[in-house]
């Protein structure tokens, strides 16, 4: 269970996240949707205690992230893909994180198998493709067998087979009773993966609903999403002609 209470973050004069109050429940995949720059990543970083909120708080099972003693055993996170030292092997990256949270070293091989990187674990991460880095990021998230998973744009860079794999993986993890919170700007993908949706724009909560609830009364989920976020999109291109 993740609980955000009036979570607020400002950068200079700009409000990145604006009094966001949301509950993310266990047992289902919750999609975190919003246009580029809407505050999804900032919210995720605040949940993990990487960025300090200016107001409000983010709680995981009732406590702040910083208060968790072995945080990787409670929360697994995939933030930005490719956040690996290019000269270090995937296996060593995982081994270092496992050591920090007293996770048995054997778990490293297990998660590499789960994400399909057994054969590439000893290669330097700098030689990985974007899809492989994304898989290594998922392995990091799964390392501590956590009850709460946070994934920021996990399908970026994955091929269709990889996208389906991550969809099944996330749904399976939620079915085991875990809390799964996945951000994306790809509405169609979220429609297939998530059951519940949290939609934000310009840092504010626009809707907290189900996939079916959002689509109701519109031609498509995409139309519903655009209608919802039309007043809250920072960057928009125009036609070329």
């Amino acid at each position: 269970m993740i609980e955000l209470r009036e979570l607020t973050k400002r950068y200079g004069g700009r409000v990145a996240v604006d009094a966001l109050s949301v509950q993310v429940r266990p047992g289902v995949v919750t999609g975190f949707l919003g246009p580029n720059g809407s505050g999804k990543s900032t919210t995720m970083r605040m949940i993990l205690g990487l960025d300090a909120p200016d107001h409000g708080e983010a709680l995981i099972d009732g406590v702040r992230y910083a208060q968790l003693t072995r945080p990787l055993r409670t929360v697994g996170a995939l933030l930005d893909a490719g956040a690996f030292h290019p000269g270090r092997s995937g296996r060593a990256h995982l081994a270092a994180l496992a050591a920090s949270n007293d996770i048995p070293a054997a778990r490293v091989g297990e998660v590499l198998r789960v994400v399909g990187l057994s054969g590439a674990g000893d290669r330097r991460a700098g030689t990985y493709s974007l899809g492989m880095r994304q898989r290594l990021g998922v392995a990091v998230a799964l390392l501590g067998d956590p009850g709460v998973l946070l994934l920021d744009e996990p399908v970026n860079g994955l091929d269709p087979e990889g996208i389906r794999w991550i969809r099944d993986l996330l749904r399976g993890l939620a079915a085991e009773g875990r809390t799964v919170f996945v951000s994306s700007h790809l509405i169609a993908e979220m429609a297939l993966t998530a059951e519940r949706l949290v939609v934000i724009g310009q840092g504010r909560l626009l809707a907290e609903t189900t996939v079916a609830g959002l689509a109701a009364g519109h031609d498509s989920l995409e139309d519903a999403f655009f209608r919802l976020t039309s007043q809250a999109t920072d960057y928009r291109g125009t036609g070329v002609s």
Binding site: A66, D80, H85, G87
Partner: protein, 251 residues
């Protein structure tokens, strides 16, 4: 803390740059020692034991740059690649992370520094074997102390690197700042001639060459022990600053 230190040790040993910098530091000192020894073989009048010994540790000037870069990269390498967020998510108490890096980097750099320092001394002595130049034995006054203190000095420079990395966060900027801090004040102090020594005795590079890596400190400078303690003090101050910055700023 023990677990965080294990994480840092795995991270340190699993990148090649660590080993290249460590080997580079040892080779630099060994090569400088051998070069100095060989050079003095044809020197007239015959050099003194102190002359050749003092100069044979001259490779420490290069070794300190390599080991301080090692310390810098231990922090800025994580910011550059984004790994810092994984690290801080795994160990949310940020001062524990910096303490673990300090412990692991300090222990490693001290070991490498001592090996490098002995390598400089030994290769210098080997290069003059069988000549008329008097040898400097480890039992002779000041020799062992100078070799050990040079190793400790090198360990301290790596910790200054860690602290500066935590403050500056960017590899290029941190290494540039570090090298600037090493050389610019020394050049400035040199402009004041003899009177520059009142400030110069506080400067790392001058301390190394005139007080630490020598049999007897140059008059006006602190003793080797005091100079090394000063270095440890500098490292402590910059590490504490790094701790404050690490805690305050968003990752």
């Amino acid at each position: 803390m023990r677990l965080a230190a294990r994480m840092e040790w795995i991270k340190l040993r699993s990148v090649r740059s660590t080993w290249w910098l460590a080997i580079g530091a040892v080779v630099a000192m060994a090569a400088a020692g051998a070069g100095v020894g060989l050079g003095y073989r044809s020197h007239t009048p015959v050099a003194t034991a102190a002359q050749i010994f003092n100069n044979s540790l001259g490779g420490a000037v290069l070794a300190q740059l390599l080991l301080s870069a090692l310390g810098v990269l231990m922090v800025t390498g994580e910011y550059g690649s984004g790994t810092i967020r994984s690290t801080l998510a795994a160990v949310p108490r940020r001062r524990t992370v910096l303490a673990a890096k300090t412990l692991v980097c300090g222990g490693f750099a001290l070991t490498v520094g001592l090996v490098a320092s002995f390598a400089g001394y030994l290769s210098g002595q080997l290069a003059i074997r069988g000549t008329a130049i008097p040898a400097a034995g480890l039992g002779d006054p000041g020799i062992l102390q100078a070799v050990v203190l040079t190793g400790v000095y090198l360990g301290a420079t790596a910790l200054i690197g860690v602290g500066l990395g935590a403050v500056v966060r960017h590899s290029g900027a941190a290494i540039g700042t570090l090298f600037g801090l090493m050389f610019v004040p020394m050049i400035a102090a040199g402009l004041f001639g003899e009177s520059g020594i009142t400030i110069g005795r506080f400067l790392p590079l001058l301390m190394l060459l005139n007080s630490i890596a020598v049999t007897k400190p140059v008059p006006g400078l602190f003793t080797g022990w005091v100079s090394v303690l000063l270095m440890a003090g500098y490292a402590t101050v910059i590490l504490l600053s790094g701790g404050v910055v690490l805690r305050r700023r968003d990752a």
